[in-house]
């Protein structure tokens, strides 16, 4: 029988529920699902487990990894080939190019994408904005204006959790907004040294310094969901966070458009995506190979894509999924993604390890968080960014 051991870090709450749906389908199709959840350790625990399993010569069949890490594992020869399934299911036809770039190595499919999260969202409390007569800002200048007004009114303009990845999330949306699509691609994707050290980057850091002023003093270490709570309760006006924040609003029974507004961060039609995927490792045994194929097929099936992304708050990684049950935010995300894909404005998030693998993402995060949490000058931060990225290459 098809068997698959699945190593993942979706261990609790909505994520686990979503995965459970997959497991159920898998089982119904006669598969044997061996669950291997590992959360904690700051999300790194799973990475440790994966390495020790690979070193022990006993890798799990499917592993939740994403972005360039997939390529690195493939380069190390650890991943199997899903081309057969892909061909049968016409993946080439239903996946956007940006996603295909992630899950393909050397022309072969080595992983299956599960979903797409948009990272560059602003979550705003309309009632609070209304207090100062403002709307959700559409340019960074407007953002600053609104924020100043809010601040003057004694409201925290930006709810933020001071963890490195959250700092980096805000940072990349600012890079996207201030620098523009091309700059983002040059600097953060291609790691062009000139772009990284340019005046534009200095401006980005200037904006970050401003943002720092819009954040309440107690932000360091705060979990993102607590920041979301602040927006929900009206203590803060906005939060910049990926679309998983929606789950928090939903859990509290809030309605989109009424109790909260989702809007993309100011940019020129850009779209920062974060996509989860399962990479298929080289495993011995027929049953395991069959398990992998079945799993891949199910994951990209329209049904599962719908169920899963409804639970998870994200949008499907493929086209052709029924839109009826998705909420307005999700629909906007889908539309924006399609538009961005067409105009080549679809970009991978760095903070979420899509555009860059661990080392560079780490260096990038280090500088972003170091700057945000100190009074480092923008010039110095720019210099540090160049150095750190060089060092990590």
């Amino acid at each position: 029988e098809p068997t698959a051991e699945v190593l993942h870090y979706w261990t609790s709450g909505g994520e686990a529920k979503a995965l459970k749906a997959l497991q159920k389908t898998f089982k119904d199709r006669g598969g044997k699902w061996v669950d291997a959840p590992v959360a904690g350790g700051g999300g790194d625990a799973q990475a440790a487990v994966l390495r020790s399993r690979v070193l022990a010569g006993d890798p799990p069949a499917a592993v939740q990894i994403k972005g360039p890490n997939i390529k690195e594992w493939a380069e190390a020869g650890a991943l199997g080939d899903l081309s057969a399934v892909a061909k049968a299911q016409n993946w080439d036809g239903v996946l956007p190019q940006a996603i295909k770039d992630i899950v393909k190595y050397d022309g072969k499919y080595v992983a299956v994408p599960v979903n797409v999260h948009r990272v560059d969202w602003i979550w705003a409390n309309p009632k609070v904005l209304a207090k100062v007569g403002a709307k959700v800002p559409t340019t960074w200048a407007e953002f600053n204006e609104t924020a100043d007004k809010l601040k003057a009114a004694g409201i925290v303009p930006l709810a933020h959790g001071g963890q490195p990845w959250q700092d980096a999330t805000v940072f990349e949306t600012v890079v996207l907004g201030i620098g523009g699509i091309d700059f983002y691609r040059k600097a953060l994707v291609e790691l062009d040294e000139e772009a990284l050290g340019s005046d534009t980057m200095v401006k980005v850091f200037d904006q970050m310094r401003k943002m720092r002023g819009y954040v309440d003093p107690d932000f360091p270490g705060r979990d993102w969901n607590l920041a979301t709570g602040m927006v929900m309760r009206g203590e803060a006006a906005m939060q910049i966070m990926g679309d998983w924040a929606k789950g928090e609003f939903a859990a509290a029974g809030k309605k989109p458009g009424v109790d909260y507004i989702c809007a993309s961060t100011p940019s020129d039609g850009g779209y920062l995506l974060n996509s989860d995927s399962f990479a298929m490792f080289n495993v011995k045994g027929d049953d395991k190979a069959k398990g992998q194929a079945l799993l891949a097929e199910l994951i990209l099936s329209e049904d599962f894509q719908e169920t899963f992304n409804l639970y998870k708050g994200s949008v499907p990684a493929r086209t052709g999924v029924k839109r009826d049950n998705f909420d307005s935010c999700a629909l906007k995300s889908m539309d924006d993604m399609e538009a961005a894909a067409k105009s080549n404005k679809l970009l991978g998030s760095v903070a979420h390890e899509i555009a860059q693998a661990g080392a560079i993402r780490g260096a990038f995060t280090d500088v972003a968080t170091a700057h945000f949490n100190s009074d480092m000058s923008s010039e110095e931060a720019t210099k540090k960014l160049v150095e750190a990225i060089k060092l990590a290459q």
Binding site: A48, R51, N69, A78, P220, A359, N373, L391
Partner: protein
């Protein structure tokens, strides 16, 4: 009575102690020193995501020392280690002395002081994070009681975050130090105290000038155990500050973990591990040497 004492059995008997020690010793040799050696070798290779045995010399060390994050982590180890050990011993000692004053409910109080040792920081970390969070925890509570200027924002301050770690670490281990000292206090020669009070020393002076200075071995035991905790502090950072704000409160163990497993820099991670181990050895080897020496002589 004389029994034949045949060669092999007799010889074997002579080697029994060594034989008994050997499984444990071999395990340690392989699983500690073998692994240290392995790590040492890896730290001179171009290992990235997986171990790779291509030798590249000391390049990973160079990169390591160019990283701001490492500098911060390494310095933190000393600041954290030093302050933690000093404060934990001071508080443990104070508690022991307080408990030594014929306290009625000693057993219960002792348990209260000791229980944090039983609990992993993965568990209490969240609680401390909340308590130390200015808007959720103690600061807001005390301000709501009217003390508006009260401030306890250690975890959110670049400079104080390390001390937040210290505080939580002390919380966890002060009770243990207390237990060590308490039992030592209980074995102090009564006559010395009598002699000192005849000499006219007040109770405070007796403790400060006579009893505590004479408990050197306990201080040493406490230092050893606490430094072991300091070096292994990992969960603490993850749970309490996540290394932040920024990376101002990361410790080498966290750095090593992050490099090895998150950033696909196994070579650099191994290099940082080697530096950590060398630091430990620099402190522990002289201590062990003098300890075991001393025992031989007396």
């Amino acid at each position: 009575m004389a029994r034949s004492h045949g060669g092999i059995a007799r010889k074997l008997e002579r080697w029994i102690p060594q034989l008994v020690v050997s499984p444990g010793f071999l395990a340690i040799v392989v699983f500690v020193y073998g692994f240290i050696f392995w790590t040492g070798y890896i730290s001179t290779t171009k290992s990235k995501m997986l171990p790779n045995y291509t030798f590249i010399g000391l390049r990973p060390y160079e990169r390591l020392f160019q990283m701001d994050r490492w500098e911060v982590a390494f310095n933190n180890l000393f600041v954290f280690g030093f302050v933690f050990i000093v404060v934990a011993i001071a508080i443990g000692c104070l508690l022991a002395i307080l408990l030594d004053q014929k306290i009625r409910a000693e057993g219960a109080i002792r348990t209260v002081y000791l229980y944090p040792m039983a609990i992993s920081f993965i568990i209490t970390g969240t609680a401390w994070k909340w308590i130390m969070n200015p808007s959720l925890g103690l600061e807001s509570v005390i301000r709501s009681w009217g003390w508006e200027s009260f401030s306890f924002g250690w975890t959110v301050s670049q400079d104080l975050a390390v001390y937040a770690l210290v505080m939580a670490a002390v919380w966890q281990s002060a009770g243990f130090v207390m237990a060590l000292f308490l039992s030592a206090l209980r074995s102090v020669d009564q006559d010395i105290i009598k002699a000192a009070s005849l000499d006219g020393a007040s109770p405070a002076k007796i403790y400060l000038r006579i009893i505590l200075p004479s408990m050197r071995p306990v201080f040493m035991s406490a230092v050893v155990i606490l430094s072991h905790l300091a070096i292994k502090s990992f969960d603490l950072v993850v749970a309490l500050t996540g290394g932040g704000p920024g990376y101002s409160s990361t410790l080498p163990a966290n750095f090593m973990y992050e490099m090895t497993f998150r950033r696909n820099e196994i070579g650099v991670g191994a290099a940082s591990a080697m530096i950590m181990l060398a630091t430990v050895a620099a402190i522990m080897v002289p201590y062990l040497y003098s300890e075991l020496r001393g025992q031989k002589n007396g």
